[in-house]
Symmetry: C2
Subunit: 559 residues, 2 copies
Amino acid sequence: GEQVTIAEYLLARLEQLGVTSIFGVPGDFNMPFLDYIEDHPKIDWIGNCNELNAAYAADGYARVKENSIGVVTTTFGVGELSAMNGVAGAFSEMVPVLHIVGAPSTAQQKKKPMLHHTLGDGRFGAYIKASEQITIAQAVLMSKTNATSEIDRILTECITRARPVYLMLPTDLVSQKVPAGRLEVPLSRTPPPNNPDVEKFVLDEIVKLVDSADQDIIILVDACAIRHNVRQEVDDLLTRTQFPVYAAPMGKTAVSENHNRYGGIYIGSISDPSIKEKVENAKLILSIGALKSDFNTGMFTYSIPTSSTIELHSDHTQVQHAQFPGIGMKQLLPKLTARLKQFESSASQLAVPHYKAVIPNEQHDDISHAWFWPRMGAFFKEGDVIVAETGTSSFGILDIPLPERSVFVSQILYGSIGWSVGSTLGAALAARDKKMGRTILFVGDGSLQLTVQELSTMMHYGLKPIIFVLNNKGYNIERHLHGMHRKYNDIADWQWTSLLTTLSNPNPQEKPKSKSYTLTALLEDKIFSNTGEMQLVEVVMDMYDTPRALQAAADLSAS
Amino acid sequence: GEQVTIAEYLLARLEQLGVTSIFGVPGDFNMPFLDYIEDHPKIDWIGNCNELNAAYAADGYARVKENSIGVVTTTFGVGELSAMNGVAGAFSEMVPVLHIVGAPSTAQQKKKPMLHHTLGDGRFGAYIKASEQITIAQAVLMSKTNATSEIDRILTECITRARPVYLMLPTDLVSQKVPAGRLEVPLSRTPPPNNPDVEKFVLDEIVKLVDSADQDIIILVDACAIRHNVRQEVDDLLTRTQFPVYAAPMGKTAVSENHNRYGGIYIGSISDPSIKEKVENAKLILSIGALKSDFNTGMFTYSIPTSSTIELHSDHTQVQHAQFPGIGMKQLLPKLTARLKQFESSASQLAVPHYKAVIPNEQHDDISHAWFWPRMGAFFKEGDVIVAETGTSSFGILDIPLPERSVFVSQILYGSIGWSVGSTLGAALAARDKKMGRTILFVGDGSLQLTVQELSTMMHYGLKPIIFVLNNKGYNIERHLHGMHRKYNDIADWQWTSLLTTLSNPNPQEKPKSKSYTLTALLEDKIFSNTGEMQLVEVVMDMYDTPRALQAAADLSAS
Ligand SMILES: Cc1ncc(C[n+]2csc(CCOP(=O)(O)OP(=O)(O)O)c2C)c(N)n1
Ligand SMILES: Cc1ncc(C[n+]2csc(CCOP(=O)(O)OP(=O)(O)O)c2C)c(N)n1
Ligand SMILES: [Mg+2]
Ligand SMILES: [Mg+2]
């Protein structure tokens, strides 16, 4: 049959999976593979400034391009270890990312000479051991014999379990020829079928509970409703049943925040009171894709008894206290919808609070969080991709409804600051592929310092996100958690509005574009809103002012 | 007896070890410990922009402050994984670094709630498992009972074996009280004594060999002569014996390059011919602290038979083919000097090439590598700290003698680009402590993009290094190794001379200080040379021009 190189086989699989961009940084041990990426007609090489940002970008890409995966390639040792924190965050938050590590040749790996990028003690296997902690599967290609089956194995793990995988690609295998035949059968992300007897039992139990709850049931969508690919199934459930629906922070935009049955964000005791009241007094909660981390649950303040809860997950179901391993929601949901639609007429009577944000009428010129977030809510448009960094941004955005078809991107469980900048690069590329709206980033001044160089990459590849930098002179979230007046929560002050010109090379004949506007005027400016080019807005805010939800979380954390 | 908090105990040990700066980034899990650092009268907190750069800075600090250690503190998961590549480089190159990871409380680590920064699956032990690959010892403090002995254990490993160690510090232990008594006995870096019988045998063997070689012996100093603290012993050996001495690249400035018996850098087949001739024709080579990595040996082209070699190391000796484990050079060297000084009169007759750099007379205005490096050689002064990034910089500098009491800082074995920027921050702080001369960095445009933000930290803490940025429009070293015309070896073009003003907040009334000079005029300018403030020089160079040694290494790599 037809033969292709291992590199071509791998790229063909990635193309099948909808990958159009590969992130990374070159190095001696991956350059032979990069030749194939650069020459590929359908896949673009995105040269990042550093490997951590490249991994962040692969993560952001995969979050927006939901039926694809993120791909980052680095070089042995120095590159792969730099990327590790980015891959770990994807592991934590169920984001499918492939990490391809270009490695010394198979001969060198057997002989173990003291090559650059090694630890000097011959332990060529040390780096993959480290990566084993933060990937669900690894493949070390050592011969062409099993190369294609190994590639397929880890890619299948990646797409079915939505977590990162690791591929070590020695230089001498890149151009080795392998049979192309397996490519005819696309990889499947279909989970194994639920055991039909158990599934029927579970369905019966759920229906009984809904019935005895007098249909006083609400749905709570969370991270894995997005990450495990059940948006459509959830949407069908809502349409057929009209159950009220709320979202945990990590489930924000899993369901349209404009949906008539949607009531807003539930964050335990720091929820808006009307939401808290509705959720905690419901007789039954159908939780879909829960990921109950501290910041996702108002510091573990859910007040929902297990006896009132049904939890659906990708690989198990829990009905009150009963666990049903292996019963996955992808297949369960449509059957559940069919059984529950009988309750539509009564469920549709249940009241849902109106989730909205009101711009307060403040009598001063300072930009407060209380004003800023609702005002940004009025700025958003349908189809926008909205990225919020850990800090005041990820808390402030929670009280703001996002428009139809918008996608919310944040790292609420893992919370690595600086992630949002790399993630915005990947998200913007995916949004461009999917012909979505604008990509808008909210990032704190502290966080931006960790990963600022990736603004350069955005410009270099012609992307046009709008970057709002919150200049509050330091790590505001940390001040509120510990060390309110500590110097270690201060940062160096930068010329934020010079960043885009400094990290690029605009026509020296043109005057630099940095100008001062009032934020109100800027947000109302048509040219600014229509992103003819990438823009960075410095938002000067009080050092200690903080969003409602962050203050509440900090108060809980202290107690 | 007196009681102190665990934090105070740890800082007291670090103060005893000569630590004056601790690098890192705050986080919830290390802020309680940071309070103690900020309040410490003798140790400064250096707040970095990101954790990888913080680890690089700890590495650079330890390289210049040779009898101390580098210390970096990060937060659980997101911080520590970001730092890993920096710690791995220190592992590889024998640099003593302590990585303190602020972690969840002991109660949280037992209960394992889904905290931010975790992997979401309860594996609180995953991160330390990753770090075990790139540290020689780890301590997880879980109670105050053994806290001081654990701290002492890993610090002792760190200073005796000159490799990184890891300390996990849960939040609830930071302020727990422990006895201070152990502090009265300083930690010792003295290696265990050599077995006297074996040591005498080794000495006799070496003397026999030197005698039968008619004293046609040369000394070759390498990385571990510096890293394992035998500068003085080597200097004594040279003074008493007058043997000719050469250095491997990683041993550059182990011995003064101004020494009358010093002949220059030996890099295997890519050495200067007169050096190659002398070294490879010597009857006997006494190698001190060898670390025979690819770039350190001209791509493994040493032409020195084992039968002509004696190798001294920190923990073993090799005499021709005979291995002597446990015979360390720290104690062996003085005894060897005593036995070898008898050969001084004949050894001092051996000719040594004059290691010098001649500035070529070029008839064009472009700045070539052939001109640039010798011209920089004339710019250096006694006591300068000279940092060279992997790339054209680390190769170009090899042919240039550095002045008396200068220190050469480069990462020739591990070779992680961007390292030199973080390393320069640490090196400059150590140089300031030690009242050395200027700190001068040579970094490629590609490398600078990985870690540029740390320029901000240098300014923020009042340091005044001189940064030479080689603008050759991309990854020149990579072009010469593979992909000469590939787009992936291009980078985004930046306004390099705007970086210092953009990454700081100078008085807006002052005009920005970026000006254009010819490089010659700049280097001759007295104000520029005397570093009243930090300066960045953009050196525009041809895209493909490369130093002699790098061209030779690339040619060897291709064959
Ligand atoms: C990689 C990493 N290092 C450190 C932290 C700890 N941390 C969490 S939030 C934060 C401060 C963020 O400050 P900023 O971006 O300015 O946000 P804001 O001031 O708006 O809260 C820090 C240092 C982290 N989450 N990730
Ligand atoms: C962290 C890391 N990523 C990638 C590499 C691979 N690499 C080695 S040298 C180099 C290019 C350096 O380019 P530059 O700094 O511009 O130096 P020059 O052009 O002067 O050679 C790269 C990408 C590396 N060594 N370290
Ligand atoms: Mg801030
Ligand atoms: Mg370059």
